[in-house]
Amino acid sequence: METMLRASEVSKRFVLHNQGGVELPVLKQASFSVNQGECLVLNGRSGSGKSTLLRALYGNYLVDSGRIEVKTQGYWLDIASATPRAILQLRRNTIGWVSQFLRVIPRVSALDVVMQPLLDVGGDAKHAKHKAQQLLERLNVPSHLWALAPATFSGGEQQRVNIARGFILDYPVLLLDEPTASLDSTNASAVVELIDQAKQRGAAVVGIFHDSQVREQVADRLYDLSTQDTTVQG
């Protein structure tokens, strides 16, 4: 299977300028690649840099050195040096993102939140609506909530709206930061099923899963961040 994503010697430290310039070295020469149809799980203790690495793959965090290359429409693009415009484009057509928390937009209904990525790439509104409804149903979001803005939803409901949004498009690359964190086992297995389907159609998946059962179900390989030498300060 073809490689979709490769990180080469990615390093990052945070500099907290307003707290005495403290430096937190978090990523040290992280290197891996992910193929189509494969799920790489980032592993390591709390604070080891899993989310930092995942955010760097999405262009949400900068890195100090190294390359993060994604295959998009036949080309390799280095996210670590790409322009904001290129990254936005990449997020529209190549990389999907699901985190634990939904960023609610005032007055926008759950259904519209889910449909938006499909509309953004010029998708037909009817098709988008149908697909959004199917996903919300699969994730057991009660239909009487669909027309409401998710601001008042429970944490788990918001999370499932977020997951539906992340799966509305068949992104070639999917980044998942604890998508099952506050879900019961029924909903967690619905998510596992979605991930499996994505892998089957050839998506390259990078995820973080605290729940070891979920992890075992979806992971093809683990990438361990705890083995990095992050204990040496400054």
């Binding site: 904001p84 936005l88 937009i105 007055r107 953004d120 790439v121």
Partner: protein, 287 residues
Amino acid sequence: MTAINSVISRPSAAQMKVQAEIHGQADRPLLVVDALSKLYAPGKGFSEVSFALYSGEVLGIVGESGSGKSTLLQALSGRLKPDAGSVLYRGYAQGDQGDQMNDLYGMPESERRRLLRTEWGVVHQHPMDGLRPRVSAGGNIGERLMAKGLSHYGNIREQALRWLSDVEIDQGRVDDLPTTFSGGMQQRLQIARNLVTHPQLIFMDEPTGGLDVSVQARLLDLLRRLVNELNLSVIIVTHDLAVARLLADRLMVMKQSRVVESGLTDQVLDDPQHPYTQLLVSSVLQN
């Protein structure tokens, strides 16, 4: 999502965006700003600002009070001659055949004024700065259409009515003076007045500034939808990081007349690099 459906009897913005990408137009900037400076005194104003803005892009400008945000916006929008540097704009200058890059401060003043009345729009923080107090709501909207050469009264009134409902103002208020409107309604009217001519580029200075929180949310939602559906390019000055996050694709952070950091909005807010940006982000309770 019904309010502004009437605006779009054309392909959706997303479809237009895809089209533009296919035809390579998206790769040509709408505005190119190079080493632009205007200083009233050392540190008062802005200096050495450079960026390119593309069609459909929203650029947010945030930063310290007095750092030069409003001054910069005035210069970008052709209302304040800079000391140095240039602003190039892609558009149809009068008499031109095709579109080309025009030097904003190289063109005659009359041409800059025409731009501001037609292809561009300016949304002021205080809505009455951008509205005519003694002209009805409908007249305020119609004025820009007339500036663009439309003269048929029935047409103008019809568009004014449609825009009133697009910005969620009761059509029955069309003959009322804006001075009888609430602040939030005035701000929406100002937006309708600007958008009626389908401008390419809108400049906004703290458009939600004087409004209370619930009115702000409604206005923001409206702006977000209009930007998406009309494929507008926007440069927006705001001190509110939540507004910036919601509306802007990219951010520039200003401090003491300089741009100290710029990048993708979520990246600048979630992983700020400059000490001032870190301070700004950490001062907000949660965003």
